[in-house]
């Protein structure tokens, strides 16, 4: 097994979450938290730090195994299989919904092209990526992630500077609204569990203890920058009325007579690369998980990736329209995200402490 470097691990894990709600999260925050949207954003970043702590703690405790095998060590094979069987469809729905949102966004730019074509193109491309294995994905991620991050931050800062509104609320109006905002924003971090799968693939050094924290801090900075870019231009009320507020705000850049006049194309290329890599990671992740649930070695994931790809495309095609997608987001993925990102890891931590499970050199 080839081990990944710190940049590869961080990049690979960091491109595995955020795309689900990135294009809509300012609207979600303002819709549920109203003028407390900023507090809700800070709240969800706080929740992400707790989530990072849980994942990091588990990884440090059992550095030799990943994903399914951690649950087997903690709960035994029977319960682990049961958790895995429930876990896989939830995650496939999450990946399918990400693909749907991305295909919908692309369709806005290319209205005559069927959504199926977008879906098939980048799911097949992602499958090809996943086929190459996690080490290859790590190498690609170490190129795509820094480029996307820099591109995203630069664009958002440029849009923010042009914005009219610099005002920030200084009071919390309603804790209930803030909580509702946090509740509906956590699905942004769906996919973070890939850290558990990556555990045996990265060097366990002193720095590796901080990977999860570094990743969520980078994500937090990117999210806050994007959020301020939206607020400084659209204010606190308009994002709620837009389907994709992030896409709209980035569209305001509209550089003319500049070297990168085709900024829209650059954004599309970077967003496509990011989403393809994201889908590749999760195809690999789900295929490996299924292989382990069925008692097969991790290297056997390629056989199961066919099934994973077929289910993702099927689920994404079954979403009829944007209203369906938002319903699934609010009523299925929101509770799932709390369960998978905070509930299960913290339960594992508690069980590991009670049963005193830890790594032993054999």
């Amino acid at each position: 097994m080839q081990r990944m470097t710190y940049l590869q691990t961080l990049s690979l894990a960091s491109v595995s979450y955020l795309p689900l709600a990135y294009w809509i999260f300012p609207g979600v925050a303002v819709k549920y938290a109203h003028l407390d949207a900023l507090w809700a954003m800070l709240g969800v970043i706080g929740a992400s730090l707790v989530m990072a702590w849980g994942h990091q703690w588990i990884n440090n405790r059992l550095p030799d195994v990943g994903g399914f095998d951690i649950v087997v060590r903690v709960c035994g094979r029977g319960i682990a299989t049961m958790i895995g069987v429930v876990y896989v469809p939830c995650y496939l729905l999450f990946v399918a919904l990400c693909c749907y949102f991305f295909a919908s966004m692309m369709k806005a730019y290319f209205p005559a092209t069927p959504r199926f074509v977008f879906l098939m193109t980048f799911v097949l491309l992602s499958w090809r990526g996943a086929w190459g294995g996690i080490e290859n994905l790590g190498r690609v991620a170490s190129i795509v992630f820094p480029m996307t991050l820099v591109g995203n931050l630069t664009s958002c800062i440029a849009v923010m500077i042009r914005g009219e509104y610099r005002w920030i609320p200084t009071q919390v109006v309603s804790l209930q609204d803030t909580w509702l905002g946090v509740l509906h924003l956590l699905p942004l971090y769906l996919g973070f569990n890939i850290f558990l799968m990556l555990n045996p693939y990265y060097y366990n050094s002193r720095l590796s203890k901080w990977y999860c924290y570094i990743s969520v801090v980078i994500a937090g900075v990117a999210m806050l920058t994007s959020f301020f870019a939206v607020l400084s231009n659209l204010g606190w009320f308009a994002p709620e009325h837009l389907t994709f507020p992030m896409q709209f705000t980035l569209g305001l850049l509209h550089l003319r007579g500049f070297l990168i006049e085709r900024i829209g194309i650059v954004i599309i290329i970077l967003a496509t690369a990011y989403t393809v890599l994201f889908t590749s990671n999760h195809i690999w992740c789900q295929a490996t998980l299924i292989a382990r649930i069925l008692g097969q070695p991790e290297d056997d994931y390629r056989r199961f990736s066919v099934l994973v790809v077929a289910i993702i495309v099927g689920m994404a095609m079954a979403v009829r329209n944007g209203a369906d997608a938002l319903w699934l987001y609010n009523h299925v993925l929101v509770p799932i995200s709390w369960c998978l990102l905070l509930g299960v890891p913290l339960l594992l931590v508690a069980l590991m402490l009670i049963r005193r499970i830890q790594y032993t050199c054999e």
Binding site: Y109, T121, W167, L252
Partner: protein, 377 residues
């Protein structure tokens, strides 16, 4: 060459196919780039409005009978398409029967609305531009008391849309007008505590005049700010740039150049009364002093000039705010700012801001700084 390398090259070549845009590939010459839309009320049907779509024709050779020719050289041809319809999308569909090229809104630059349109009609037009994924929401928006379509076909104007856009994009001074884009106008209609504004467009012997502004309540035009008031409106918002203004001083006057304003505005409670607080910083250069350069300007004179500027700006600013208070409209966004900074007052501001604003006290503080004393003494 190995088989693997050959396969990779073939795969890369195959990937080039979707780069052309798949089903959405259109040659630029096959598209009718709509650069301007004018909307007028339909006197025969209150449910319809008259859409006029302005399409430049870039080809030198095309010279159809319906086109309006103006000027000389290339890119001087255009066609205007007119139809009476309920919405912009249906208008585009109906007009497509008269044009061999597909209408394309991604190059939209101006939207001109007739002042006599109903608020629901204005809302429908703006919503259809905001809702259309391919339309350019950065188009400048204008309101006119005249026929809107007239500004897209005036014979005295070379390329009407380019001329209108250049007023905002190329001319550095725009103190007498409001530079408002369609998305900004739409955004302000969604926000409590601020009233949306647009530039006023009128015809003039030279072609057009964009001086003045219209203030809205939602999508309903409520009042007009004349050109002189718009200067102070821009000063209040801190958006004045590169202006020249004349100020009275001891029965004579002096002129400031390159005036630039910045401002801070907020709301506070004073003895139970709401007070609109405005702090303005005005910077400019002296062009011609009150003696036309005959007597040298001393530092004391400069201070007196600054004092005169502060008094005049303060006086006019209060007048403009009072005019808005009389009409119960807040185009400055005092309410919005107060709502965001003190969100606990949000429900009061959402429901009663126009009343609160109209009875609020005004506290304006102006500081003027004259940088250079000019070339004459």
């Amino acid at each position: 060459m190995s088989v693997v390398r050959f396969r990779r090259i073939v795969l890369c070549l195959l990937l080039c196919l979707p780069l052309s845009g798949c089903w959405d590939y259109h040659r630029v010459n096959d598209r009718a780039q709509v650069t301007g839309i004018a909307v007028d009320p339909d006197p025969d049907n209150s449910h319809h409005v008259i859409f006029t779509l302005h399409v430049p024709i870039f080809s030198q050779s095309s010279n159809s009978s319906g086109s309006n020719m103006s000027g000389s050289g290339s890119a001087k041809h255009y066609k205007n398409f007119t139809v009476s319809c309920g919405t912009l999308s249906t208008a585009l569909s109906e007009l497509q029967t008269r044009n061999s090229k597909e209408f394309y809104l991604a190059s939209l630059q101006v939207l001109i609305l007739n002042e006599h349109l109903q608020d629901k009609q204005i809302e429908r037009v703006v919503a259809s531009i905001m809702g259309n994924m391919s339309s350019d929401k950065l188009a400048f928006i204008f309101m006119t008391p005249e026929t809107a379509a007239g500004f897209l076909s005036g014979s005295s104007i070379d390329e009407p849309v380019d001329d209108l856009v250049n007023v905002f994009s190329r001319v550095r001074q725009s103190g007498y007008t409001v530079r408002r884009r369609t998305w900004e106008f739409w955004r302000d209609t969604t926000q409590p505590g601020i009233n949306p504004t647009t530039a006023m467009l009128r015809s003039s012997p030279e072609g057009f005049d964009v001086g003045g502004a219209v203030v809205f309540e939602g999508f309903q035009p409520v009042c007009e700010l004349p050109m002189q008031d718009v200067v102070y409106y821009n000063i209040i918002l801190g958006k004045l740039k590169n202006m020249a203004i004349s100020f009275e001083y001891n029965d004579s006057d002096f002129e400031l150049l390159h005036i630039k304003s910045t401002s801070k505005r907020f709301v506070r409670q004073v003895h139970g009364h709401l007070q609109l607080v405005l702090k303005i910083l005005l910077k400019g250069d002296l062009d011609v002093n009150a003696t036309n350069g005959e007597i040298e300007v001393s530092p004391q004179d400069m201070q007196l000039y600054e004092k005169a500027v502060e008094t005049t700006v303060e006086q006019h600013t209060i007048e403009v705010i009072r005019a808005c208070q009389r009409n119960k409209v807040d185009p400055f966004g005092f309410g919005l700012r107060d709502m965001v900074v003190h969100p606990k007052d949000a429900s009061i501001i959402s429901n009663h801001w126009s009343t609160l604003f109209s009875s609020a006290q005004i506290d304006v503080r102006v500081k003027a700084e004259i940088g250079h004393k000019g070339a004459l003494n």
